[in-house]
């Protein structure tokens, strides 16, 4: 009788198959660690370059032609000014859109269209948003290279990310909560405003802060709308010209003098510090307030 399985052959191959398995497991592990190694190298490299250049003067000085005197003050404050526009605008528009899509919109073609539109908008390169901002805000509305023009452009850029984050947070609120609210005689908007939103707000905030930190680090659209890099004053209103940290770093990186590489590295450290701060706040909110239903 012929055996269905040739035992000897299986046993003979088994060792090889296990070796192969372990070899590839190691290879896959190596690939995973590769990203982490690069991250460590990148941070180590930038921090060592920044040492000696990052001091209190660097935070207090304006841009300068002399590397020793160059500072990030105008750019750091400028980034905060940008947030003054981007944070409220993108939050209101983003959360509003999310509420509409999740709570009000009927399942029809129009809703599908908005939804598809948002996911496609998220895939548009940031530099194209810059072209939009240049034409519509800088030239069309004659806002110039102001905080306002940059803020509007950036708000539209991060809008899709905030919408998607807010939608997920709202979707995670269980229906029982809504039904209980209706059962108590609340209207739809009362339910949304007093029950759904409070339950969803930690998730919305976490996603939004991450989206805003993207806006802080984004350079390309601001280059396109022509935000200057050499500014020795602080903006007084949202219609003044200004500069932001990534623009300033870009400018320093492009300078031929060796010293400006160190200045750029110091600027990057400040930028990364702001981003880490924002991300920590996001993680804190998620861990502290996020309810699991």
């Amino acid at each position: 009788m012929k055996k269905l399985i040739d035992q000897e052959k299986v046993i003979k191959n088994m060792a090889g198959r296990l070796v192969k398995n372990n070899f590839f497991k190691f290879l896959f592990f190596l690939a995973t660690v590769f990203g982490l190694i690069v991250l460590v190298v990148l941070l180590y490299r930038i921090f060592t370059q920044a040492i000696g250049w990052l001091d209190i003067d660097f935070l207090q000085n304006f841009a300068s032609r002399r590397p020793e005197e160059a500072g990030i003050k105008a750019a750091l404050i400028g980034s905060l000014w940008l947030m003054v526009i981007v944070a409220p605008l993108s939050l209101i528009l983003g959360v509003g859109t999310a509420i509409y899509l999740e709570e009000y919109a009927k399942k029809n073609r129009f809703t599908d269209f908005i939804q598809t539109n948002i996911s496609n908008l998220a895939g548009v390169p940031s530099i194209v948003f810059g072209l939009l901002g240049l034409t519509v805000f800088v030239r069309g509305m004659e806002l110039g290279r102001s905080v306002m023009a940059a803020g509007l452009t950036m708000s539209l850029l991060v809008l899709p990310v905030i919408v998607v984050a807010a939608q997920e947070a709202i979707r995670a609120v269980p229906n029982q909560l809504r039904e209980a609210s209706y059962g108590m005689g609340a209207t739809k908007w009362q339910t949304i405003y007093r029950v759904v939103l409070p339950a969803a707000i930690p998730g919305i905030l976490t996603g939004s802060i991450l989206a805003l930190s993207r806006a802080i680090g984004e350079t390309a659209p601001l280059v396109v709308i022509g935000i200057p890099t050499f500014i020795a004053y602080l903006p007084k209103s949202i219609f003044d010209t200004f500069t932001v940290m990534p623009m300033q770093i870009y400018n320093w990186t492009g300078r031929p003098q060796e010293e400006f590489q160190h200045v750029a590295a110091a600027g990057i450290v400040v930028l990364l510090f702001v981003l880490i701060l924002m991300n920590s706040i996001a993680v804190f909110i998620r861990n502290k307030f996020q309810k699991r239903f």
Binding site: F29, T97, I127, K188, P246, T253
Partner: protein, 317 residues
């Protein structure tokens, strides 16, 4: 909530109803208004898309009224700065973009996929919970930082291996861009692989497969649509990436596939024009919209393709 005021003798049920109705009408007003307001915010995103489309189309038409579309698509030289015999052939910018994108994919696809397999098939829950957030940090670093890293670290490093390497080249930004995209490929592919039900894995393991065989012969084919969609999205991301190539890729639009020399991508060209002082209304000014349009069409096509792949070829369980 109507409170019954017992001390007022004239207070009747009729008045209670009236009071309630007065309150209701205010409430109903808000109730009717809010959906409309919210719809308005939702329409902003549609307006943004229309804004992008019209801006690009309108200014691109102006450009094509000065430079023929045939020259744009077929000429082999991109010399916008020449007053006399300038040439607007987009081909060098496209090859520059494809070159850096190609290098990025050579880095990002194998490493990203391998990380995804490790995280989804081999790693314990604990390892995954540690590694995934760190990979997300890698994705959250601003691109200008990667540009700086490419120019001041990777290029000098590569120059020790390839002595002919130019200060600006396609190789270094390509590699760094690939590293930046690894987390995206890894996380999207891992999502696709994790959605393959465990019963299928257990079936294969029960038949005597090793974990590697399960991963490569069972899980990969079952999640192929999601994985390929993640590759396409990664390509789209690399095509639109700006600052890394603008900082480290150079600004010489040449039609060549030499990765060691300076090139120029579509995005880097837009950056070069907008940081320089090409005046408003010049042909060069309008050329950035034509290039932007090309870029937009490229990335939109890629994104739609990714959606199509993941919808059309999805395996349902």
């Amino acid at each position: 909530m109507a409170v019954i005021k017992q001390d007022s003798p004239t207070y009747s049920v009729r008045e209670m109803i009236k009071e309630k109705k007065a309150k209701q009408s205010g409430l109903m007003f808000v109730e009717k208004l809010m959906p409309k307001l919210l719809l308005l915010t939702a329409v902003i995103s549609v307006l943004t898309t229309l804004g992008i489309l019209f801006t690009l189309l309108f200014e691109t038409f102006t450009f094509f009224s000065r430079v023929s579309i045939i020259e744009f698509l077929t000429a082999k030289e991109w010399l916008p700065w020449n007053e006399e015999n300038g040439s607007f052939g987009v081909a060098p910018l496209v090859t520059g973009t494809l070159l850096t994108t190609g290098i990025a994919m050579v880095v990002a696809i194998p490493i990203g996929l391998a990380s995804a397999i490790y995280l989804s098939e081999y790693a314990s829950d604990k390892t995954r919970r540690i590694i995934k957030p760190i990979l997300e940090v890698l994705a959250g670093i601003p691109t200008i930082v990667y540009g700086f890293f490419a120019l001041t670290f990777v290029t000098p490093l590569l120059k020790q291996i390839i002595p002919d390497l130019g200060i600006f080249n396609a190789l270094s930004p390509g590699i760094v861009m690939g590293i930046m995209i690894i987390p995206m490929v890894a996380s999207l592919s891992e999502d696709a692989m994790s959605s393959v039900p465990n019963a299928i894995r257990e079936g294969a393991l029960g038949l005597g497969s090793t974990k590697l065989e399960v991963a490569l012969k069972v899980v990969l084919p079952a999640s192929a649509s999601g994985i390929i969609a993640s590759f396409v999205l990664a390509i789209s991301r690399a095509v639109g990436e700006t600052m890394i190539v603008a900082v480290a890729g150079g600004s010489s639009p040449v039609l060549s596939f030499d990765v060691t020399q300076s090139i120029q991508t579509m995005t880097a060209y837009i950056v070069q024009v907008t940081t320089g002082d090409a005046g408003y209304g010049t042909t060069i000014y309008y050329s950035i919209y034509a290039v932007g349009m090309t870029l937009f069409v490229f990335t939109l096509a890629m994104n739609l393709l990714a959606q199509y792949i993941s919808r059309r070829f999805r395996e349902e369980y």
